[in-house]
């Protein structure tokens, strides 16, 4: 099956209906394993038990950027290939990405207070992630502000692609500027700096949260397709009512004219 086959919303609904229970089950199982491993991970020699916040914070931080990446690919699909489901995918992903970014900021702040002595610092990494969060909110507002989904899709796609410039800024902010935030310790040249006892639960939680995103995204895309179906049916219903009242008023007018003659 190719992306073109999925261009048919009815076919997409059929496929996603079959996939969703399996994805949801895999997400629950992996989250349970990840949470168990996180709970029993050893304390860090410097951070103590607060290292457990990493197992929530890092997957959400990764996903905050990954979701914008998915939306950027979907935006290319909207602008270049005009794939019928591309803007559905982008619109459905935005609230989920915003939620992950909010969690990354909140848990980062809760981790920062005991480790750095402050909840917030206007440094490059924290500020660029806050900008990402505000861009998610702006994009959601844009989708709501424009009533016609196809017009909103093009504007949102351009904004998403422009916003993608922020992704490398977030990633490399810790290398380019002096920040409180630590540099990359998992995905870096020379391998991970984390001990296996932390790395394995972290990777399990990262996969679990990614599966959670895929599950929620597919479900939200299905809802968006149904919403558009409702909208087009309501428009058909409204035009039918307008047509019948127009015909009715013309017939009334004609009968009055006949009566007057």
């Amino acid at each position: 099956m190719t992306l073109i086959d999925l261009a048919n919303p009815t076919r997409f609904l059929a496929l996603s209906a079959r996939l969703l229970p399996w994805l949801a089950a895999a997400t629950v199982i992996l989250l349970a394993i990840g949470l168990y491993q996180s709970a029993y991970a050893p304390d860090d020699y410097q951070q103590g038990a607060t290292v457990k916040i990493m197992f929530i914070h890092v997957p959400n931080a990764w996903l905050s950027m990954f979701v914008w990446g998915v939306m950027s690919m979907a935006s290319l699909g909207t602008l270049v290939w005009r794939h019928p489901l591309a803007d559905v995918a982008a619109k459905a992903a935005a609230p989920i990405g915003a939620a992950f970014t909010f969690l990354a900021l909140l848990t980062g702040s809760l981790w920062g207070r005991p480790m750095w002595g402050t909840y917030w610092e206007w440094d490059a990494r924290l500020t660029s992630v806050l900008i990402l969060f505000l861009m998610y909110l702006g994009l959601m507002a844009l989708w709501r502000a424009v009533e016609d989904p196809s017009r909103a899709a093009r504007a949102a796609a351009v904004l998403t692609l422009v916003g993608a410039i922020n992704l490398p800024i977030i990633k490399f902010s810790v290398d380019w500027w002096n920040t409180l935030h630590q540099p990359a310790s998992v995905m870096r040249m020379g391998g991970s700096a984390l001990d296996k006892s932390f790395l394995i639960p972290l990777l399990v939680m990262a996969v679990a949260f990614t599966l959670l995103f895929v599950t929620l995204h597919l479900a939200a895309m299905r809802n968006e397709i149904l919403r558009r179906r409702v909208r087009s049916l309501q428009m058909m219903q409204a035009s039918r009512v307008a047509f019948s009242s127009d015909v009715g008023s013309r017939q009334d007018g004609a009968s009055k004219e006949v009566g007057a003659a």
Partner: protein, 59 residues
């Protein structure tokens, strides 16, 4: 399992994640129910899709 002197920060982080994930799941489920209810209503009022299928026709 001891969470040490910063237990409140750790517990709040996990609780916040649980709440946000629950809100996301609730949003998706309620939105699905809302859309299918509206489609059912349109179906009852006799509005059909251009393909001639019922509004509620789902695979």
């Amino acid at each position: 399992m001891s969470l040490g002197p910063y237990a409140s920060f750790i517990v709040t982080s996990y609780a916040a994640a649980a709440v946000v994930v629950a809100i996301l799941i609730g949003w998706v489920v309620l939105d699905y129910r809302n859309q299918t209810a509206r489609l059912r209503e349109l179906d009852r009022s006799g509005v059909t899709r251009r393909s001639g299928r019922s509004a509620m026709d789902r695979p």
